[in-house]
Amino acid sequence: MPEENKHILEPHRWVERYGDYLFNYAIVRVNDREIAEDLVQDTFLAGLKSRDGFRGDSSERTWLTSILKRKIIDTYRKKYTSKESSFSEIEPTTLDGDFYKGEEPMRGHWLEGKGPNSNSFLPEGELEQAELMEYIRRCIENLKPQLAAAFIMKMIDDEDSETICKELGITASNLWVILHRARLKMRDCLEKKWLN
């Protein structure tokens, strides 16, 4: 990139320029205001420490977002590789007892009232965008944290499966089951929001 097109860092304007953007980026992914605020602060401080390494090829915002992204993954990793809350507590089976019958001869069939009601989980007619966004947020909040981490990395960050497995320290088969369970619960939660 020619020198005149290179981006420069202006740390004294970071909060004003990128504070809200980074805060929203973080809160969608960690679902906790306090943690999101800490992550924004840590991102700016890490940016200051490593500013000599900024080459100016990307914008300030892109560069800061990549630091924040790394910090969010570290947060997931710390949280879900502990003994108290590990990915290994998610049973590696497709048969989620909250949704399917466990006894023969109907083993694996939808439990009464647990299958979808229609082709859409949204209500008919006009829908307030803000309302939908709020319900999605609440449904993500209701997921087990381990499910939420993998679901967010896949569905919001659009990360490839290999990266998610590497970052969260899980196998591909674990990830498929985790995403399956997260989708089951999200769909169910969203459909119930409107029915209620």
């Binding site: 740390p11 504070g19 929203n24 989620d96 299958g115 082709n119 896949k154 399956h180």
Partner: protein, 93 residues
């Protein structure tokens, strides 16, 4: 039990494959098992439709959360605290 019915999958496996095909390409055997299951199960057909809808909705959520009207804001106190922390780092005494 016929050979075919032994090869048939139940709804839990079908819904697992519906999720899996959102993220990767199904092998022929799984694809066929799912296809057959969907032909005879109206609940899993609805489920498949909703899972596709969930992917689209999450894309909207991603965009809205960063650029939409529902953006949240750092509290002024937090903004000021972070700002003064940055100033201290930039101008240490």
């Amino acid at each position: 039990m016929t050979y075919l019915s032994k090869k048939m999958i139940a709804c839990d496996e079908a819904s697992f494959l519906i999720s899996l095909r959102e993220d990767s390409r199904l092998g022929f055997r799984n694809w066929l098992q799912l296809k057959i299951h969907l032909l005879r199960c109206h609940l899993c057909r609805k489920y498949a439709s909703q899972i596709g809808q969930l992917s689209n909705t999450m894309e909207i959520y991603r965009e809205e959360s960063i650029h939409g009207a529902n953006m949240q804001h750092l509290s002024p106190e937090t903004g000021a605290r972070i700002g003064s922390r940055i100033s201290r780092e930039l101008n240490p005494k």
